[in-house]
Every structure is written in C-alpha cells, then in structure tokens.
C-alpha cells in the first residue's frame, strides 16, 4: 500500500508540474462547454427582419407588434417597395422579410383570408427553416385568437408540445454530449499519454524491474485521472445548471455514479490504447481519431442516430458514449430512476470489463 501511495504521489507531481497538461485538464472542459453552449446553437435569437407593409392597417400593425414583441426578432428596417428586397438581403444583415399584401385587413374581413409572404435568406438553410417556423407559429397564434373573437365555426388545430425541453433549447442536447466527449478525451488521452510517456522516457524499464505489480502500475496511473475527470464532470454539470439553466430532474448521486462509470470506461480504453503503442504521439493520434471523432459523430451528440443509414446505426451502437448520452439525458431531463437506465448502464459496465480484461492481458511484464 505504501508503494502504491508513493506511486500516486509521483503521478500527481507529474500532472501538477506539467503546465500544458493542467491547462488541458481544467481549461478545456470549461472552454468547450461555454463554446458549445453559446456558439453552436440551434435557437434563434434577435434575428433581424425587415417588413414591407403594403396595407398599413390595424391588423398588420398588430401582427408586426406581436412578432417584434417576441425576443426572437428585431426590426431592422421598414421597406417601402419591392425593389428594396434584393438589396437588403445582399447587405446581409436581414435574414427575413415579411410582406403584407395591400388591403390586408379588408381582405381578411371580406374573404376570411389574406396573404403574408415570408422571404428568408436561405444561404443557411437550417437557420432559414427555424426562422420561418418561428414566424409562422406566431402568426398562427394570432389568427387563432382572431377566430375566437369572431366566433367562426370550430376548427381543428394541431397543438405541439415539446416535452422535457419545451423551449427546444439546444444546450440540453449539448451538455450531455460535451460531457461524454470531454470525459472520453481527458480520461483516455491523458492515461494513454502518461503510460506511453514512461515507455518513451525509458522509465517503464525500471518500473518493470521493480517489485511493482502491473495492476499497481495501471491503477496508480489511472487513479489521479479518475479524481480529476470526476472534478471535470462536476464542473460541466454545474456550468450546465447555472450558466445554461439545464435542469437535473433525476437523482444527483445516480448521475454522478454514472459519470464515474463512464470515466472508468474511458480510462480502460486509454490503458488499452497505451498497451498497443510505444510513443506519446501515436497514442495521441489513436485517441483522437479512434475516440474523438466517433464520439462527436456517432454518439447522437450532434447528429441523430435514427437518421443514419442502417450500417452506421449498427456501428453507432458500438460507441460507448452513445449509451452514456442516453443515460445522462434521461436522468437530467426526464428525471428517470435507475430502473429505466439499467440496460444502458449494463452495456457500459460490459464495455468497461471488456476493455480492462484485454488491457490487462496485453499489458507486458517485459519489454517485448
């Protein structure tokens, strides 16, 4: 035990004396959460629009006010003729133009129907889509209210409600994903690098020629990163909760326990990588391409797995982060208990054991 503590102490010296490692360890999680949270966002906010009102009556004014009253849109300019449409889009600030046809209120009264044209700048199709649906929703809402007032025969309306994430906040998507990504990166890359560094520096040679058992070396290498990764996991959760308002509906101990499980999984992957590589550079490359890209692309973090071709869906099932993200979303957003995530948890446990057994088998007690 004293040996083991001595080994642990040495590992902490390594970590705290290497400024680069420290920055990666503690700076990266915070930077990434903030980056993903604020920059890569599917929400629209303060979109600049222009309005071309050919009618200028009571109703068009009410609709305009309603749209501008939402926090999604701000009025950039009131247009006076169709000729301005092209040029204002080319200027680039305005993403949407609303055009009310002339005699809007009169037509609505007379025929029960009037037209609003919505033109968007679709150079960014995703944003364009979002803007249109937000605008239509507001207008629909307004016309429903008009219907109620005028006692028109009942109409069937579809009403959508978004469960668990009523405002469709993308942060709710990203926080679990970033958690998976960062824990994977920190744990796997850091352990694989720290083990291969011993090989590269030749110190593995004297560690092997010492009475230290392979298990002591591995656990000693991994333990500091379990602690540091756990601190990171907590940091991400706290940032998610207090900076982005991410709810934690489920039990926090369960959430943390699942995090520890995932950290162990990532660490065992890191050990596995280090047993197959002899230098830090190769370990880094393997971790990056082998872990980072699949975690981003195939885990359902950004791209929904349901929309992938069948072959990729099967591959995605082999990605541990995929299951972790499901667990985290369930616990944080739905508040489910362990009874509903035990299957995914079991999959993670199985992955961990699988990686650990291979790495212990592959760990060499000799140099070759």
């Amino acid at each position: 035990m004293k040996r083991f503590i001595g080994f642990l102490k040495k590992e902490f010296y390594h970590i705290f004396r290497d400024r680069r490692t420290l920055i990666i360890l503690f700076g990266m999680p915070v930077a990434q959460v903030l980056l993903f949270g604020f920059v890569i966002t599917n929400e629209i906010k303060n979109v600049k629009i222009a309005i071309l009102d050919h009618s200028k009556d009571e109703i068009t004014k009410q609709i305009t006010n309603k749209i501008l009253a939402s926090e999604y849109f701000i009025l950039d300019k009131n247009l006076s003729s169709d000729n301005e449409i092209e040029s204002i889009f080319k200027a680039g600030n305005v993403k949407e133009i609303l055009i009310f046809e002339n005699n809007f209120a009169k037509k609505l009264e007379k025929y029960g129907k009037a037209n609003i044209q919505i033109i968007t700048d679709a150079t960014d199709p995703n944003t364009a889509n979002l803007i249109v649906s937000y605008t239509s929703a507001i207008i629909l809402n307004y016309s429903n209210r008009l219907n109620v007032q005028s006692n028109v025969p009942m109409q069937i309306q579809t009403k959508t409600r978004m469960f668990y994430n009523p405002e469709l906040k993308s942060v709710f998507m990203f926080v679990p994903g970033i958690m998976a990504m960062i824990l994977m990166l920190i744990s796997a890359i850091m352990t694989s690098i720290s083990i291969t560094r011993e090989k590269e520096m030749g110190t593995m040679e004297i560690l092997l020629v010492s009475p230290l058992k392979p298990a002591q070396i591995i656990i000693g290498k991994v333990m500091p990163y379990v602690i540091l990764s756990f601190i990171n996991a907590v940091t991400i959760i706290v940032l998610g909760m207090y900076v982005f308002g991410m709810p934690v509906q489920g039990s926090i101990p369960l959430l943390l326990a699942e995090n520890v499980l995932f950290i162990l999984l990532a660490l065992s992957l890191g050990i596995l990588i280090s047993t197959t590589t002899d230098n830090q550079q190769a370990a880094m490359m393997k971790s990056m391409f082998g872990l980072l890209l699949p975690t981003i692309l195939l885990s359902g973090f950004i791209y929904p797995i349901e929309n992938m071709p069948i072959a990729l869906q099967i591959v995605a099932n082999l990605m541990p982060p995929r299951w972790f993200i499901i667990i985290i979303k369930d616990i944080m957003l739905k508040g489910t208990s362990f009874a509903f995530v035990w299957k995914e948890t079991l999959i993670l446990v199985a992955f961990t054991l699988f990686f650990l057994i291979i790495s212990i088998k592959k760990f060499q007690i000799r140099l070759e």
Binding site: R3, H14, M201, G202, I206, S210, P211
Partner: protein, 299 residues
C-alpha cells in the same frame, strides 16, 4: 552469483546474441566490453528479466530469470543505458520514489549510497532533468542502490560522462564491490576494462574472450609497435598495403602495427615508408592494451 548458459536471442530475422556463456562470482566486478550494437544491452535485459531469451538459461543467485522473474526483480538493481529517471521530479523525490517502490526508505539504506549521494545532496531540490551528465549518473546509481540489491546491473553507466566523473564512478563501484555486491557493468570504453576484475570481450553478439584484464593483455602474441609520421592518413593506407603487415589500426596519435613475422624488422619497415615519401618517421615498441587485444580478436 550469476551463471549464463547458451543464451541466444534474435529480433525477427536479426540475430542479436548467441552462444553467450559466462559466470560471475559473488562480489566480483565483471565487465562486458564491446562496441555499440555488440549485444551488451540485450544480454543485460535478459538478465534483468526484461526480455526473454530464445534459448538458454540464466540463473542469478539461484533464481531463474524466466521462471522466477518476480524474485529477480527484488534482488537486482538496474541502471539502463539511457538516463531513465523522472526528469520533472527533483533529485530527492526520485530517490524517495524508488525507495518506496522497493518498500524501503532513504534513511534505512543511507549507508550504502552515502558516498555517492552526498555529492549530489547539495542539489537535492533540483529537478533531475536539470542535472549535468555526471550528476545524473550518480543519481541513477543511487536510485539503483537504494533497495540494497544483491546484484547491480549497469548498462554503459559512463557513456557521455566527463573523464573526472568517470573516474569517480569507477571508484564508487570498487567500494560497492567491497560491500559484497556483485556488479555487472558494460562499457564501450576499452580503457575502463582494466578496472574490472574480469571482462568478456563481445562483438557481433558473440563473446570472444573472457579473462582478467591482465591475462587478456598477456595473451596478445604479436610484437606491437607504434608508428607515427607526418601524414597519418597516407601512413595507414601504405601500412595496410605493406606485404608484411598483419594489422594496422589508428589509435589516437599513433598507428599500432603488427607484422605477420614473429619479429618486426624495423629497418625494412622504415625503408618501405621512406620509399613512400614519409618524413619524420617514429617507430616505438609498445605494450599491448585491451583495445589492441580487442582489435586482434576482430581481425
């Protein structure tokens, strides 16, 4: 006591060492002498249980290096050829680390390392990576000694170390030997061979001769002369083309020359060199050293 029998090892198709047989007595300072790539490190790694021999057997103090590798790792102190300590840890932290790993403390075995460690103790707060070459070797030796090993295996401990530190280092080895530690050391420096009790000359993975340094020198059969002229490059070329020449090698300022005849005819040689336009010819009879023996074995 170390006994090595018929060790053979190849890496893929390359034969690293073969037919390695030698034994080392308790408290003996045994040297493996040979150029880079001769197979010294391979032999040491087999003895320290770091790699497995393809054939043959090696026993260290009664323990087999393959079967009893765990025991072996308790009784040996090993200093690899490359400086293999933690550069980002201080002198003291490195020593402490190796002490705890072997289940001991600096205080417990301070006696053994005192002579060496007190030379680097003034720098004990300094990071190991910032030490000079000689100090690094002293620290590495201290770390290899901290658990009071029965056998010390040192792979080229003096390579890249200045002459003064090298001398100090060998003095320390002598003192450790007196404490009963069996020491196995390798070096590419022939002049260090005479500091060992016995040496094995090794070349291309084969041991060519094992004996005390004195006996090895005595076994040199040829008469040896040192030749020197103004144009050494041409001299080497001309000597090698001389019909009587057995060997001619450049050693520092001189060329060491042996003849195929049992007695060297100095006059004839001088005459031959004069004919080839050499000036200021100096010919001196000298005693062979280990390096001459080594070169002789190689030819």
């Amino acid at each position: 006591m170390i006994s090595v029998q018929n060790i053979k090892k190849s890496y893929g198709d390359t034969l690293a060492v073969s037919n390695i047989n030698f034994s080392v007595e308790q408290a003996e300072l045994f040297g493996l002498i040979g150029p880079d790539g001769a197979g010294k490190t391979t032999i040491f790694r087999i003895l320290t249980s770091l790699i497995l021999p393809d054939e043959g057997k090696a026993i260290l103090n009664g323990y087999d290096v393959v079967k009893d590798y765990k025991k072996i790792r308790q009784i040996i102190g090993y200093m690899p050829g490359r400086f293999s300590l933690y550069q980002d840890l201080s002198v003291e932290e490195n020593l402490n680390f190796f002490a705890t790993v072997f289940g001991t403390t600096i205080e417990e075995n301070y006696d053994l390392i005192k002579d060496i460690y007190k030379q680097i103790e003034p720098f004990k707060k300094r990071r190991a990576g910032k030490l000079s070459g000689g100090m690094k070797q002293k620290l590495a030796l201290s770390c290899a000694l901290i658990h009071k090993p029965e056998i010390l295996v040192l792979d080229e401990p003096t390579t890249g170390v200045d002459a003064v530190s090298r001398k100090e280092f060998w003095d320390m080895l002598q003192r450790l030997k007196e404490k009963g530690i069996t020491i196995l050391v390798s070096t590419p420096y022939m002049d260090e061979a005479s500091l060992c009790d016995r040496v094995a000359l090794i070349q291309n993975g084969q041991i060519m001769q094992i004996d005390t340094p004195d006996n090895i020198v005595k076994s040199f059969k040829h008469e040896l002369i040192a030749v020197k002229t103004e144009n050494m490059h041409k001299l080497l070329h001309d000597l090698r083309n001389f019909s009587d020449t057995h060997s001619a090698f450049l050693f520092g300022q001189n060329i060491h020359y042996t003849s195929i005849n049992s007695k060297i005819n100095n006059e004839e040689l001088k005459h031959y060199l004069q004919k080839n336009n050499h000036k200021n010819i100096e010919i001196n009879k000298i005693q062979a050293n280990i390096e001459d023996c080594f070169m002789e074995l190689m030819t």
